[in-house]
Symmetry: C2
Subunit: 471 residues, 2 copies
C-alpha cells in the first residue's frame, strides 16, 4: 500500500510541481491591504484543490479578516481523525531588489523551488492535500478521517482562525492536528518539533513636539521622539541580550536535562550556523545558554522595524514630531502573554523620558507551547518519518511561533504533530525563500505513510496535553 503512494508521487512529480507553482504565483501577502484580492484567489485555490482530491463539505468561511478554508472526509468509522492545518498567506516580499528571481514567479534552480511562500507555508500545506490524493489514487479511500482548516492570516496574527477554533470545537473535533510549517533540523534528518515559542508583537509610537521642528532653533531644549524611543528601547535588554523588564523571566522553566542532552547530540555547529545562516561577524545573546537553547527555550526581545523623521537622500535638520518602532517578545512555554504585555507597559511608563509620550499597541499575542513526545500520533509520525528518510527521527523545538497550536490545545484539547520539511537555509521571511523539491515529494510520501500507520494503529488514543493558557 505505502509503496503505491510512493509510486504515485514518483510518477506524478512534474504535475505535483506545476500545481504547486500555480499556487505560489498568487501573491497572497496578508499584511498588505492591496493584496486582498490575491488572498481571496489563494483561498479559492485551496478550496478547489481540496475538492479535486475528494474532500467533502468544502467551504470558504468568511471572517472579519481573511477567509478560512474548511473541508472534511469522515468515512473511516472507528479510525482516528486528523485535523490538517496550514496557511495560504505569505510574508511581504520586500526588499524586492534582493531576489534573484521574482518572488511570485516560482523558479526551480539546483533542486530547489524559489519564491515567496515556497517553504512558509504553501509548499508544505499543499503536501497534505497531495497526500490525500496519493492515498485515494492508491487505495480508493482514506485510512483515517480527515479535516482541513487552512487560514490566510498566519503572518498577521491569525485572529480569525483563533476565533473560529474557539467557537467551533464540535465541528473541528479531532484526535490530533497535523501542521507542516517547521523544518528538518538538517537536510535528511527526520525531525518532529515538540516546542514552540510564543509571541507578543507590538508597535511603540513615540511623540514629543506638536510638530516637526528645526533642529538648530530648538535642539537642546525640545524633546526628540527618536532619541526618546532610542533611550527606551536601549533599556529593554542589556548588551548580553538579557531582558531588563522586571518579572519577565519569572515563569521561564529551563529545558529538562534529558532534552538538553539530546540537543547536544544534534549535528549542530554554532560556527556554521553563524557563517551559513546568520552571516554576521559574531553571534549575540545570553552568555550561558547555548545557541539552541537561546533560540528555542529563552525569551528574547527584538526590534523589527523603525521609521520616523527625515529618511530620504540628503540632509534635513529636523526634530520630528513622532516615530514608530515594531518590537516583539518571543515567549517560552508557561510564560503568560498578558502578563508580559502588562510588565512591558509598566516598564515603558517607568522609562518615559521628559517631554516624550509613548503609545504601545498590541498587534498579536500568543503563548509558547510544548507537545508530549509520548503521544501515540507523535510516535507513529516519528516512525513514518524515519521510514521515508531512512534515519532516526529527532525531537527538537523551534524558536518561531505557531499560535494555532495553542488554540488547538486550548479549545479542542488535542496535541499537534509538527512535521515540517523546510530546511534551515530556506530563507523564511527573507528574499530568495526556497523549498527543497525532494523534501516536497518526500513530505507527501511521509504524510501519506503517517495517515496509513496512524489508521492501522489500534483505536485512537486521546492524550490530554497541558493547557498552555490555563497553567
Amino acid at each position: 500500500m505505502s509503496k503505491t503512494t510512493d509510486t504515485f508521487v514518483e510518477q506524478n512529480r512534474d504535475r505535483l510541481l506545476e500545481e504547486l507553482k500555480e499556487f505560489l504565483r498568487i501573491p497572497s501577502i496578508s499584511t498588505l491591504p492591496e493584496h486582498r484580492g490575491d488572498i481571496d484567489r489563494a483561498a479559492q485555490f485551496v478550496a478547489d484543490s481540496l475538492r479535486h482530491v475528494g474532500m467533502e463539505n468544502v467551504e470558504i468561511v468568511p471572517t472579519a479578516g481573511h477567509p478560512l478554508v474548511y473541508a472534511d472526509w469522515m468515512h473511516a468509522p472507528g479510525k482516528p481523525t486528523v485535523l490538517c492545518y496550514g496557511h495560504y498567506d505569505v510574508q511581504p516580499a520586500d526588499p524586492l531588489e534582493e531576489w534573484n528571481s521574482p518572488p511570485f514567479e516560482p523558479t526551480v534552480r539546483d533542486g530547489n523551488i524559489y519564491g515567496r511562500g515556497t517553504a512558509d507555508d504553501k509548499g508544505q500545506m499543499y503536501m497534505h492535500v497531495k497526500a490525500i490524493e496519493a492515498l485515494r489514487a492508491a487505495t480508493g479511500t482514506l485510512p483515517i478521517n480527515v479535516k482541513f482548516l487552512v487560514e490566510g492570516e498566519e503572518e498577521v496574527g491569525g485572529e480569525a482562525i483563533a476565533k473560529y477554533v474557539a467557537e467551533n470545537p464540535e465541528k473541528l473535533k479531532a484526535d490530533v492536528a497535523l501542521v507542516s510549517d517547521t523544518e528538518l533540523f538538517a537536510a535528511g534528518i527526520p525531525t518532529l518539533c515538540i516546542g514552540l515559542r510564543g509571541l507578543v508583537y507590538m508597535e511603540v509610537e513615540s511623540s514629543g513636539p506638536a510638530r516637526d521642528l528645526h533642529s538648530g532653533l530648538y535642539g537642546g531644549a525640545a524633546p526628540n521622539p527618536i532619541f526618546g524611543l532610542v533611550e527606551l528601547l536601549s533599556k529593554v535588554k542589556n548588551a548580553n541580550g538579557v531582558i531588563q523588564v522586571p518579572g519577565i523571566y519569572d515563569d521561564v522553566e529551563p529545558p529538562a536535562p534529558a532534552e538538553k542532552r539530546s540537543w547536544k547530540r544534534l549535528p549542530f555547529s554554532e560556527e556554521e550556523f553563524r557563517l551559513k545562516e546568520v552571516g554576521s561577524s559574531e553571534l549575540t545573546g545570553e552568555r550561558k545558554p547555548s545557541v539552541l537553547e537561546r533560540v528555542w527555550a529563552r525569551p528574547t526581545f527584538e526590534v523589527h522595524g523603525i521609521a520616523g523623521g527625515f529618511t530620504a537622500a540628503g540632509a534635513k535638520t529636523v526634530i520630528p514630531a513622532k516615530v514608530t518602532a515594531k518590537v516583539s517578545f518571543r515567549l517560552v512555554p508557561k510564560q503568560d502573554p498578558d502578563k508580559i504585555v502588562a510588565a512591558f507597559r509598566e516598564f515603558v511608563e517607568k522609562h518615559t523620558p521628559k517631554g516624550i509620550h509613548f503609545q504601545v499597541r498590541i498587534l498579536s499575542s500568543g503563548p509558547g507551547l510544548s507537545v508530549n513526545p509520548d503521544h501515540a500520533a507523535i510516535k507513529v509520525a516519528a516512525k513514518a518519518f524515519s521510514d521515508i528518510l531512512g534515519k532516526k527521527t529527532v525531537f527538537i523545538r523551534s524558536g518561531g511561533s505557531i499560535p494555532i497550536v495553542g488554540d488547538f490545545a486550548t479549545h479542542l484539547g488535542i496535541p499537534t504533530v509538527l512535521m515540517g520539511f523546510g530546511l534551515p537555509d530556506d530563507g523564511l521571511h527573507s528574499p530568495n525563500e526556497k523549498y527543497c523539491l525532494d523534501n516536497y515529494y518526500k513530505g507527501i510520501m511521509t504524510v501519506a505513510h503517517f495517515f496509513e500507520q496512524y489508521g492501522a494503529a489500534a483505536a485512537a488514543q486521546p492524550v490530554a496535553i497541558p493547557n498552555p493558557r490555563a497553567d
Copy 2:
C-alpha cells in the same frame, strides 16, 4: 531720501507680493533629485529679478551641484561694498498632509504668506533685490557698491558656494556681507544675530546579519542592527542632554557674562516657548544652562531620521540586515568640526556592539561663528533697524547654522550682518511655513535704509573678525 524708499514700498505692496509669490511657486527642493529642473528655474528667476532691478554682470554660475547666481553694481567709488547673500533652495515639504494650503501655492491668511520657503529663505533674500529696486526708483542710483551671491544648496550643505567663495576672493571682495536668513527675537523687535552654531550632519548605517532573518528562528543569537544602533545612539547623550562623547566640550566657551545678562533682558518666557513653539509636555536638555543658552551657546546632538526593517502596516517578524539613522552635532564657536567628527568616529568604534558593523558618512560640516557687535556695519544696521521698527535693536545668537558666514570670514575676511525678519513661529522646515507680510515690507525698507546709512557713513571701516577655522 529714505522717506522715498519707504513710499516706494508702500505704493507697490501688491506688486511686491505678487512677484514674491511667483518665486515661491517654484518647488526648488534641493535635496530631492527630481526637483533639479525647479532648481534651475529658481536660479533663472533670481537672475532675471536682479537684471530687472539694474544689477550688472548677472551670471548663472554652473557648479558640480546646483547653480549660483552672481551679480554686481560697482558705480559708487569710495563707498563700501556689501555682498548680499541668500538661497533660492528650500526644504522638502513633507509631511504634505499637514499643510493647510499647498506648500507651493503661496496663500495669504491673517497678514502672513504661507508656503515652503516663505521665510527660509526666498521671502527674505528677495527683500535685498527689492531694496535695490526701491533705492534706484527713489534716487536713480545706489548709495553703495553691491554684489549678490545667491545659492541653491543651503539646505543640503552648500558645497558649491563654499568652493566658489574659496576660489574667487577677488571677485567677491567686499567690506561686509548681508544675510537675511534669521529671525526677529519677537514680533516688532529689531534683532541682529551675532552668533551661529555650526553643524556636523552624518548618516550612521548599522548592519549585522548578511540578510534579513526570521526573528523566531534566529532571535536570541543573531545580532539585530536596529537594536545595535539603538544601543549606540542611546549612549551619545544622557537623559539630561549632556553629550557623552569624550572631548566634545573641550573647546566650548561659556557666553560672556554681559551677553548672558543681555539675554535675560529679552522678552522670553520658557513656558511660552514650550507651549507655543515646541508644543511638548516638557522641555529637555542640560539642567543648568537656560533655554536660550542651550539652543544658542551649547553643543547638542540630535537624531533627525531613522529607517530600517519592516515599517509598513501590520506585523513582520524580521531581524533586518541593516538600518540607517541621520544624526547631527550642533557646534558653538571655537569647536572644530573635524575634531568633533574624529571624536564621534572613535566613540562609535568603541561602542560597537558584538556582531554589528557601523559606517559613518559625513553629509555636511561647518563651524560655529560669532560677529563683533562693534563693527561699523553692524552699528549702522542696528540703527536702520531701530529706525524702521521703532524699538532698540537687540543682539542675539541663533542655534541654527549658516555655513556661508564661516566661508565669508575665512576666505574674504569679512564679517556678516545677520539681519533677519523671520518670526519664531514661522515653522521653518515644518508644514505651514509662513512669513509675516509686514516684515517683508519693513524688511525691504530696513535694507534700503541700511544701504543708505552705510554709504553715508565715513569710508568703509574694515574690521578683522576672528577666523573661525584658524583658531
